[in-house]
Symmetry: C2
């Protein structure tokens, strides 16, 4: 039944008889179950089984709790949402159709710090995973699962689930094997320190170790990962990168950093990618990344000879970059590790390594509180993702955003954010294309003065200064005119513009 | 010059000649300097030198940046604020007079996660400490400083400062020696895991190791620590303790915990102390604490045979408890450790040990966001303290508060908090005297339903339900009526009542 290629990929002989169709595998998933699927920022998600599940649900309605690493590609979240399969979705998503269902209150979305989901599963503070569905390049002789372009939460899902479905993707390169470092923290009360002490530390296994008898079905697939949706750098993102570079050079001159900086983390999205890309034209060298998603910019930095090593939980590339990188995977491999998101994002490791963390804000306020998730305080965009894991524990926590959105109708700097994801305590540096605010060691009133002077779009600066001046007349450690604090958002809702 | 007792306390012979008056020692502190002083929640602060400094400043004005562990006793912050000595104050305070000066914008207060201050100092992201002033029970043969009733940030202040002033307090019992465990994380990029793997782990030295020549002056003092200001349990705090106990027993029945629970952290203040005290009358046993401040309740639990071990950064007791505990210190000593606040609060250790963390909210909102610091979003109460270090990394993050304040004029549960210290992601359980909301694994709309049903005072419940119903009509993942979200606080400011 299986050809040679498939035999190479399923090296545990006894498991070969478990190969079946996506439909039959999906039949293991029943109404009401909790399902843990691979997939992290459009990389390495299980592709066939969820589609088969959606197809079945269109005939015979069913609902599940779906947990993943992070967002899924191949319109999976859209397809599942439109087939009304998702009762609950944990811990991240970034799909426009699912987002709408969440904001209508149809899908219960549990937005979590990405390092925490499996911690809660392991302590049974979230419902047990009934079935795990994990994309793999191979199953080892002993039944170990070798993930593809992401690790995400796959290892813990497979370890904790009652049954495991493996999707062997023949189009994910076999050379991915050896890239992964699967380490699971030991159980309390005997938990030992996580032995990762540099981005390069290899501390685990190159596969997910589970008893082979748990593998209930194997599906052979060929569909590729979706490409990243990030846009090319533009004038604004180049300006943001420029301000940040200038600041970091200042830190080097002040003797706080050298030109190798500290290990870098960069968040998802267009702006963070552009900022990282901007490091190509800087005197920084021998850089390292300890991040979550490795985007195009990681490989641009490798190719420019700027980057020594990159650790992440997934590789998510544009179509063009994918064509360049995948054939040369063996070249990059000695300088890459993919880890479980619990480890890539772990507070213990982030704090130990002392990362420079660059994440994107939707909006921030005059005191430096950041909203990364909720448009107008209510409409979920994607989720907090790993931004909190990193920002809280960073050596230097940077948030970037353009100073205005929606062609100037929206100011990204507001009197009070309409939702708080990161409090002022977790935000050291704010950057827009206008400029950079260094908030370290400043009290709220000083933060406000710095932010208003440096980050706000000129169209909004007088209004913001006026707000702040009137707030100061009322006094307080963190002055506000409470009845006006959210008025910019209210005006936006009423008139379509903040100004 | 020195008598026998003082010679016992200053065992490094060469340093005995540095003994001087508080006034002369204080003369080492100059206008514009950054000074790091011992003291953590009214325990173990330097007592004589800051008073002498304030006295001098009343004649010859001067301003400093004052860093401590946390709050100071003996009206030191009041005295320094009233003498206008404080230009900047870092990272915590709880003094009514200083609070007023901060809220008037006269003192720049940098409110920080208590584990982070020395991390920023060490990386020179805060101004260098010119002079450290540390209360000690003794100086060892080699010039090591043995702290008194708190460690706080004293070790790093002394290590990083240019000059160190030691206050030898003859009335702090010599038996405190041996209680402390001074461990400082190694420097990046070679930072190793912090080896604390249980509350009992001893991983450092019993004194602060510094070169003796840095000790520029020694002052002999006799003043006692101030007593704690916590109130006795009342009907409401007993009800809160009751709800939490009932919940934890439910967790035991569900097999997620056993009767020894997980190590406990309890925040400052009356309510947290009362909750912990409430554990005396429960079937829980062989408990351990890995906390910040050890209050009366810690020793009540020891005496009741409930507690096996307690690790903290300070011991802060009521006058009565102080009289009982201090004479019996040698009995308690084998079951106590005092650590630097960087370690007692370290994300790495908190997450590893899996703590049950109980902290106090001023107010929380229908989605479970918590405000611990800012009355009406603007007026600083004390500071975030260690609550974020613990809540973010807890096994179980509990926040407690009474459902109303100011005799019912204020609801502690509001549509939207006026300031966010802890986002919904970091809050698992909310408890008021009305009841308990278990928010684990719930989406915002589910959190709102649970909180409104369980935690809100009956006088405010209909209003809050009405707000939430109207918010849901507008939709969103986290529904709000934005123009009304802060209206309860605005009404309070205008009318003195929220209702
Ligand atoms: C914040 C975040 C949405 C920005 O994404 P991005 O692709 O870099 O940024 P963009 O500027 O393209 O903004 C994305 C959208 O938000 C809109 N937007 C930006 N600022 C806005 C604001 N203040 N108000 C309303 N909408 C705003 C943009 O207009 C754009 O809308 P569109 O998709 O309709 O064009 C994204 O980084 C995110 O989800 N972050 C949270 C998770 C995270 O930080 N993870 C990091 C660890 S991996
Ligand atoms: C939140 C905190 C102030 C509560 O302290 P507490 O002593 O347990 O609580 P109390 O109920 O006595 O409240 C203290 C004051 O706040 C007032 N208060 C409480 N809730 C309020 C609200 N929602 N709005 C306005 N005032 C409120 C009380 O009326 C009381 O005022 P008073 O001093 O004038 O009587 C205190 O726990 C704190 O500072 N926490 C932040 C730091 C922290 O959590 N550290 C923990 C790690 S150690």
């Amino acid at each position: 039944m299986l050809d040679g290629v498939e035999n190479d990929r399923i090296r545990h002989v006894g498991l070969r008889e478990r190969v079946t169709s996506a439909e039959e595998a999906a039949a293991l998933i029943e109404d009401g179950m909790t399902v843990g699927m691979s997939g992290f920022t459009r990389a390495g998600e299980a592709k066939a089984v969820p589609m088969a599940l959606a197809a079945r649900a269109r005939q015979h309605p069913l609902k599940i709790t779906l947990m993943t690493g992070a967002s899924l590609g191949n319109d999976l979240d859209k397809t599942l949402a439109e087939a009304h399969v998702l009762a609950r979705r944990i811990p991240f998503q970034s799909d426009p159709a699912l987002r709408k269902a969440i904001n209508r209150g149809e899908v219960m979305f549990i937005d979590q710090h990405l390092s925490e989901t499996v911690e809660m599963l392991r302590t049974r503070q979230l419902p047990r995973v009934d079935v795990a569905v994990v994309e793999a390049v191979a199953i080892t002789e002993n039944g170990g699962i070798v993930p593809t372009t992401s690790v995400g939460n796959s290892a813990s899902f497979a370890i904790l689930a009652e049954k495991v479905i493996v999707e062997i993707n023949l189009n994910q390169p076999a050379e991915l094997e050896g890239l992964h470092d699967i380490y699971i923290p030991t159980y309390r009360p005997n938990r030992m320190p996580i032995p990762v002490v540099t981005p390069e530390s290899r501390v685990g296994l190159p596969f997910i170790p589970i008893p082979p008898e748990k593998i209930a079905a194997i599906v052979v697939t060929e569909k590729l990962d979706s490409s990243a949706t990030i846009l090319d750098p533009d004038a604004d993102t180049r300006a943001i990168a420029g301000h940040l570079t200038e600041f970091l050079l200042h830190e080097v001159r002040a003797g706080r950093l050298d030109h190798t900086l500290q290990p870098l983390q960069a968040g998802i999205g267009t702006i963070a990618n552009a900022v990282l890309h901007g490091f190509i034209d800087t005197p920084f060298h021998d850089l390292k990344m300890y991040s979550e998603v490795l985007q195009d910019s990681t490989f641009d930095l490798f190719d420019a000879g700027k980057l020594r090593f990159a650790s992440g939980s997934s590789i998510t590339l544009s179509a063009q970059k994918y064509q360049q990188v995948l054939p040369r995977l063996v070249e990059y491999k000695p300088r890459l590790i993919l880890r479980p998101q619990e480890i890539s994002n772990h507070p213990e490791v982030v704090r130990r390594l002392g990362l420079i963390c660059i994440n994107t804000a939707l909006e921030f306020d005059i005191y430096g509180n950041v909203n990364s998730t909720h448009v107008a305080g209510t409409q979920m965009m994607n989720g907090i993702g790993g931004s909190g894991d990193f920002a809280r524990n960073a050596y230097l926590s940077v948030f970037v955003t353009k100073s205005v959105a929606k062609h100037g109708a929206v100011s990204s700097v507001v009197p009070m954010v309409s939702h708080v994801d990161h409090t002022e305590h977790d935000v050291d540096i704010l950057v827009t294309e206008v400029g950079l605010a260094d908030l370290r060691g400043l009290a709220p009133r000083e933060r406000a003065a710095t932010i208003i002077a440096n980050c706000v779009h000129p169209d909004y600066r007088p209004m913001l200064r006026d707000y702040y001046d009137r707030a100061c007349q009322r006094g307080g450690h963190t002055p506000h005119v409470l009845e006006e604090a959210l008025s910019w958002h209210v005006r936006l809702a009423e008139t379509g513009r903040m100004i």
